[in-house]
Amino acid sequence: MKKAVMMLSLVLALVFILNIGYSIYIRQSVETANLYWGSRGNEVIEVQKRLKNWGYYDGVVDGIYGAKTYSAVRKFQAKNGLAVDGVVGDATKRALGIPVAETKYQTTRGASGRDNTYLLAQAIHGEARGEPYIGQVAVGAVILNRVNHPSFPNTIPGVIFQPGAFTAVSDGQIYMNPGDTALKAARDALNGWDPSGGAIYYYNPAKTTNQWIYSRPVITVIGKHRFAK
């Protein structure tokens, strides 16, 4: 009977130990790169360097997480309001200024379309700043019509920077600061207002010598510009 109890408690103890082992294993596989007593490697070097620079650590920077590193980490954690456990986890890494790999899905933040609005406004300003307001919107619309046309590049920057396509790009006038009007015109064009009636070309007859462009059917005239397809 006694033996049986002994056996049982031994088995239970084993199960318990295994369990802990397993849960440690799970923890490690989730939070991969925690550093603690016994860790080695480049990341430990990074930690030691920083702690040394800031006067928490006076041992050698050898990449081995030993007693001195351990107490330095604890000191650092205590000073910085972190949980004092001697383990360098994500929070401690951040406090140390070591980049933490974010594996979790992050909310999308890169997409805005704002750059294209500004570039379009610059092109409008450079090409048509003296024109009536809808003449400016129309120039923006022509650029966008080109983006959707097979004969032209498929992006706004592609169309604007196509060599020789726009005089204001060729002579650098595009790099002027676009005024509020050009920005407003760019937004209207991007929102779908198209006073050009679907044109992909425009030209000022007073300044254009290219004969071919005169052969294109004119859709409309706004200010000094003829808009054609």
Binding site: Y105, P132, P150, F152, D171, R187, W193
Partner: protein, 443 residues
């Protein structure tokens, strides 16, 4: 003494001139290197396109043709991109550029066909054969041009025009002439009509929403005055007629306080195509909801009763509200009208109905073959959906329309719209909603 100074000055200016010269030479070579790289890459892409198109002729495996078509897609877009960075007039390049765009776009549409299990039609095979031959022609001509560049007969970086030292001016040089010659042969490649945004039919879609009889200019002026009821109009000037896909009268209106309002009114039916009021809005006195109500009322006054607001943008103290036509229970996104509301006094300062006038017609919408619950099962487990779906008609890339259930949902903190085709149960499209200070953007 004076002589010494003169010599010194001469030497200094000579040194300066020389450094200018070498610097210019460096820029020149740098540019030429860039252009050469583009040109060599271009030839490589076109060669690969020809070879890939040849391979599609003999493959019997759907997965292999999938790989080939996606490679053609990739190669042609890269080729097109490089072509359009060369210092050659875009007027000269338009056919070659169009050829490359359409080959790529067409291959992409065949990729999609392939995935859906639809085999390429005999017409498709016909097109592919012809496109293969044209790709071959283009490759050979580009190689000839390369030899000429190597033999220094043609210089890619040479962009100067006589008497004009402007660097970036694209000239009528030999390479331009060569390209116009190449282009002439490319004119007759087959007209490609397929399921993609650059298909030939997209460029000339006839508007469906232009109901009514033709009107004269006087009538257009009356319509304009009626449309701008709240404005004190001083004078209406005639602007150029519009000869785009919708034929219009152009009107420039000046108000009593000197403000300009521009309008285009269709010659058939007298519909307002668009209106833009130039005035700046400097304060905000009404809420976004009030703006939506103002816009709704405005549409009602002008005879558009069945319009529902779908989404809105806010910038420069104005709100742009999109309205879609409501056909029974179905939100028809193609029939789109945009209304711009000034947030200072709620005045309507912009209107755009090109979408509505192009797409709207009386449709006999099919009954869904898939129930809302069945459609729900097609949605990813990862998406969190709280509301029942909305039946919608959405525009596809080739300008056709598809009846879809629209599901609004979240993944983590991000918002999405997922469209499940109500006839096939297929996931048709995903839009990602991006919230910014200006409103919600969909991508």
């Amino acid at each position: 003494m004076v002589l010494a100074l003169l010599i010194l000055g001469l030497a200094a200016s000579g040194a300066w001139g020389y450094s200018q010269y070498t610097q210019k030479q460096e820029y020149r070579i740098f540019l030429q290197n860039q252009y050469n790289r583009m040109f060599y890459d271009l030839i490589d892409h076109v060669e690969t396109i020809e070879v890939d198109l040849a391979k599609t002729m003999v493959t019997a495996s759907p997965s292999q043709s999938l790989i080939l078509f996606s490679d053609i897609w990739r190669q042609s877009l890269s080729a097109q991109e490089k072509l359009n960075q060369l210092p050659i007039s875009h007027l000269t390049l338009s056919n070659t550029s169009k050829f490359l765009t359409q080959v790529g776009d067409y291959s992409y549409s065949l990729t999609k066909k392939n995935i859906d299990g639809t085999p390429a039609s005999s017409e498709d095979w016909d097109n592919l054969e012809k496109l293969h031959n044209y790709a071959g022609y283009l490759a050979v001509e580009l190689q000839k041009l390369r030899t000429e560049i190597q033999n220094k007969r043609v210089n890619l970086g040479e962009m100067r025009v006589e008497g004009n030292a402007r660097l970036a001016r694209v000239s009528d040089n030999i390479i331009n002439q060569e390209f116009s010659r190449i282009e002439q042969q490319l004119v007759d490649y087959p007209t490609l009509i397929y399921d993609g945004p650059f298909s030939e039919h997209i460029q000339d879609i006839a508007p469906k929403g232009l109901t009514g009889a033709g009107i004269d200019y006087q009538r257009a002026v009356e319509i304009a005055r009626d449309f701008l009821k709240g404005e004190k109009i001083r004078v209406v000037d005639k602007r150029s007629n519009g000869n785009g896909s919708i034929k219009t009268y152009g009107l420039d209106i000046t108000t009593e306080d000197g403000n300009r309002i521009y309008m285009d009114i269709s010659r058939k039916g007298g519909h307002v195509v668009w209106m833009l009021n130039q005035r700046d809005v400097n304060s905000v006195n009404i809420s976004p909801n009030q703006a939506v109500e103002k816009a709704k009322d405005f549409l009602k006054q002008n005879g558009y009763d069945n319009m529902v607001p779908t989404y809105s943008m806010r910038y420069d103290n104005i709100a742009v509200i999109n309205f879609a036509y409501l056909d029974g229970p179905v939100v028809v996104y193609t029939d789109l009208i945009k209304v711009k509301v000034a947030l200072d006094n709620g005045e309507i300062i912009g209107y755009e109905a090109q979408g509505y006038l192009t797409a709207h017609h009386s449709r006999s919408l099919p009954e869904p073959k898939v129930s809302a619950d069945e459609a729900r099962d097609s949605i990813s487990m990862r998406m969190d959906i709280k509301l029942p779906p909305q039946l919608t008609l959405i525009p596809l890339e080739n300008k056709s329309e598809a009846l879809c259930y629209e599901f609004r949902g979240q993944f983590e903190e991000d918002d999405f719209l997922v469209y499940i085709n109500a006839l096939t149960g297929k996931e048709q499209r995903i839009l990602k909603m991006i919230k910014s200070e200006n409103g919600v953007l969909t991508m």
